[in-house]
Amino acid sequence: MWREVWLICRKDLTVERRARVTLIQIVPTVLLILVVFAFAFDANPSLLGAGAGGLFWVAVLFGAVLGAKRSFDIEAEGGNLDALRLGGLSPAAILWGKAMALAVQMAAVAVFTAAGLVVLFSVTVTDWPLLLTAAVCGTAAFAICGCLYGAMTVGLRSADTLLPLLLIPVAAPVLLAGTRAFDVALGTSADQGWSWTALLAVVLITYVAVGWAAAGPLLEDA
């Protein structure tokens, strides 16, 4: 099973390495969101600094929506999903392989977004372990959730418009907990940062459990 997961993950990362969609399209879009937010808040440094934690997660969430769409678009063309199934790969292996590849891509998006925040909004990190743990849990949760909904909408005519409608509300707990944890890590709040990170971990475990149970029903009918 894990060999199959690794195969799919490597396949998706190879496709990405050749097409560079994450690097050339998703990362610039996410950075553009940061710039547009600066316009929306009248380039007020104190306001932008206070909202930097939330802005990071909003930007990464939009990146995850684009990434999840892209991840399943490449399979919808030419019936690749059927080919993978006919090749003997289990639905769970396909889903987890794609989720792993998407998590790697989202980690890259998160790194660029964080760098954008440091450069554009002059934020300083006061608690690195908290920041990194929250970032890893939140990014992985977005990737799994994105893949679940990507599999749910793959091949549907209105997938472009439906995926954000389905994904964004369900990813809201990650957005909420991630923002609170980042606010503490960036020194803009004195909240219980590790409690919020624990909630992120609980949400991540929930998504993993649902993904495990739902991989079969979703990919058998995709």
Binding site: L148, M152, T153, L156, R157, S158, L162, L165, L166, P169, V170, A172, P173, T206, V210, A213, A214, G216, P217, L218, E220, D221
Partner: protein, 260 residues
Amino acid sequence: MTGSVATRVLGAIGLAAAAVMAILALWVSPADAVQGDAVRLMYVHVPSIWVAYGSFVLTAFASARVLWRTRSGAGGTEGVIADRQARHWDRVAGAAAELGVMFTGLTLVTGSLWGKVTWGTYWQWDARLTTTVLLFVTHLGYLALRRLPAESRARARRSAVMALIAVVNLPIVHYSVDWWRTLHQEASLEIGIGGDRNYSGEMYWTLLYSWATFTLIALWIGIHRYRVLRLEELAEEAALEELLSVRRSEPSHDEPVTER
């Protein structure tokens, strides 16, 4: 077409119960010492969200049944029975989700009006309000997914997974008032024997009575909605059968073509 003696009786009882509820809520129950008459909105606001919670839990339960009945392996007569049961639970899930969305919408509207009177604004970025909106939008997405054209089994399974993910939001909405500092008051009644009450006397009993009335009305609407969904399926099947019979009655094109 969807009515029966039982549903007509149920509907009549529901309407009578609603009339009694109006009397209890508007005249028998006292005004609140702080909020005045605005507190009477509670008799619609709180039961609506309770019924919505129940509907979403039923959607999740029915969805789990759909996934269970459609798991691969069953064939022959057993497969036909499993398919019929899966369709039944899929209709239950769809009808319950529609009810849940309707009652969550009612909760948001009445909450907004209540907020205008007590907080001075229709909307606050409060944890309970925000998570309730997310619950509402998530299930709207579920209904949108159900309406997409697809093979019925695939659609049912896809929607079932979505419903099981969406139900995770329920405890977050319910406990948001305990987990975060919010403007919204804590739960009106604690679940379980010996739980805390924020209300007593006539207010407490009117609230419980309102909940029973809303549940009755929801049940009545839900049964009708279930039957409408069943009729829609039958109409689709009948239309398909008609098309097939028209196609079969057309002259065959397999006859050899004679060359001139």
